[in-house]
Symmetry: C2
Subunit: 300 residues, 2 copies
């Protein structure tokens, strides 16, 4: 089985995880959690989202969180930005890099950012150019790549068009979102083989949800295609507030357990990561979807 | 991606699923559940286990269940038997075929059937020969193939030795059990590649647990190696009473959803299977681990 040896895990729990939770986690607890995450050896943490708090009240304290966390050397602290205003706030908070996002389908894009796909491009173009001019790298997200809750199947051509457009604007990496966790391994293989005809595997990341239990199977297909960057969420928190049944990012500890077992390198300390997962689970009045959290029930 | 087109799904919920549950499901409800399972298009159902009721009280009504179910044409109704006495009961119940079982590790074998591995062979030899003499096919299970809760890693040579011995005794198929759900895809590939040097893929089945969320990833590796027979459990019920943390067979509906999506054929009606899962879930005072059950919450 030929798979990359070093795997880059991008932790999105503090942003994608929290944004779909109704319960507000207080600013100091968010900060403590992110500090636990960085102490586990994670080298990339998406800390928050600078969208208007009207849209994501769970992240209304984005600025306080971003300014309050302890910056560990070697860790990239990123934030999601929807537009120029968001970017300005991210720059004020001195984020190391920013992420922009859009959907592969019109309906999801409209519900998510209130614009058509073609109306979205110029806004992102401006954000990307300004971010780069300010010395920041920009990562792109495209959601509903493998299926849309409103439109169903998504033609690969649409994803290719968006990918080409965003890369030409200056993003360094595109994260392909399986927003509703509906991708299957055969489809994952087809989509990746098609995209990798024109893009290097190092430019592609996978952002998978475990809604139907297929996220690690799809991860394996990604690895077999040479993909070495994956998004995951501590505890398996996460989802999309605009897509019903989209809950549950792939749990960082389930993913890292599998990578460790397969002999891959992540430089992440599994036990320390589990400590961060136990911490965030303790703040919610429910069990999180992570398998490893369920297995490792003792405190720490 | 080269995988077999037709997949044989062997439903083990009524045996492996129920045997690890503390709650006793009444005989008439077990029968109703099994009848729902057979109506879904499943062609193989392991109905019960003819072990002494002292060991598995949840299946104390094995004979009543086996005799009470409606036999649908084309469905193979099987039962687990530990010894001659169990076989006699299975024959009395007119099971279509029987399964025998042992572990790949001494400690688990001892805890599970109170004998060493070498002491187990002659007992199974007698059961297999008698079953075949009575016109019944015999399936073999070997558990802890990918890791043991007591002994840790399991040398592949031990599995090969047991496989060779059981096939020479007359079993037609060996189901490799990942009893504690600890197999990883790289290991799965190594084990299968080694076993398939001397055995045809049609003689091997996989019996996976989703304890760590890796069961569908491991299934994919099995499919890629040409394996076309898999055990699964309606609702994701199941486990092993002698292995802590072993709960959760791969859920039949999660598995079949993925197979359908990948274009494989099983001849199983997903909606009807889900109905059987909803039924058994309604009898337990808890949510079962199946992802599809969680997604398809409406009754039916």
């Amino acid at each position: 089985m030929k798979i990359p040896h070093f795997i880059h895990v991008k932790e999105v729990g503090p942003r994608d995880g929290l944004q779909n939770e109704k319960q507000f986690i207080s600013t100091d607890k968010k900060i403590e959690w992110i500090n636990l995450l960085s102490s586990s050896g994670l080298s990339y943490i998406e800390v928050t989202s600078f969208v208007h708090q009207k849209w994501i009240p769970a992240l209304a304290d984005a600025m306080e969180v971003a300014k309050g966390i302890k910056r560990k050397e070697g860790v990239t602290y990123a934030a999601l930005v929807p537009n120029r205003i968001g970017l300005e706030r991210a720059l004020e908070a001195d984020m190391d890099e920013v992420s922009i996002f859009m959907s592969a389908t019109e309906t999801h894009n409209l519900k998510n950012i209130n614009k058509s796909i073609d109306e979205t491009f110029p806004i992102l173009d401006e954000v990307i150019k300004d971010a780069i001019a300010s010395g920041k790298k920009v990562r792109g997200y495209v959601s509903t790549v493998f299926g849309c809750p409103y439109e169903g199947a998504v033609p690969i051509e649409r994803v290719k068009r968006i990918a080409d457009r965003l890369f030409s604007m200056g993003i360094y990496e595109l994260s392909l979102g399986d927003t509703i966790g509906i991708a299957n391994p055969v489809q994952m293989n087809q989509v990746l083989m098609e995209l990798l005809k024109s893009l290097p595997p190092t430019s592609i990341a996978l952002h998978l949800h475990d809604t139907r239990g297929m996220s690690l199977a799809n991860t394996l297909v990604g690895l077999s295609n040479g993909i070495s960057t994956f998004d995951s969420s501590c505890g398996g928190l996460g989802g999309c507030p605009y897509a019903k049944g989209a809950s549950g990012n792939i749990a960082s500890e389930d993913f890292i357990y599998m990578l460790d077992a397969m002999g891959c390198e992540t430089e992440i300390d599994f036990e320390k990561l589990l400590r961060a997962s136990r911490y965030i689970q303790s703040l919610f009045s429910k069990s999180l979807p992570s398998h490893q959290l369920g297995l490792n029930v003792k405190g720490g």
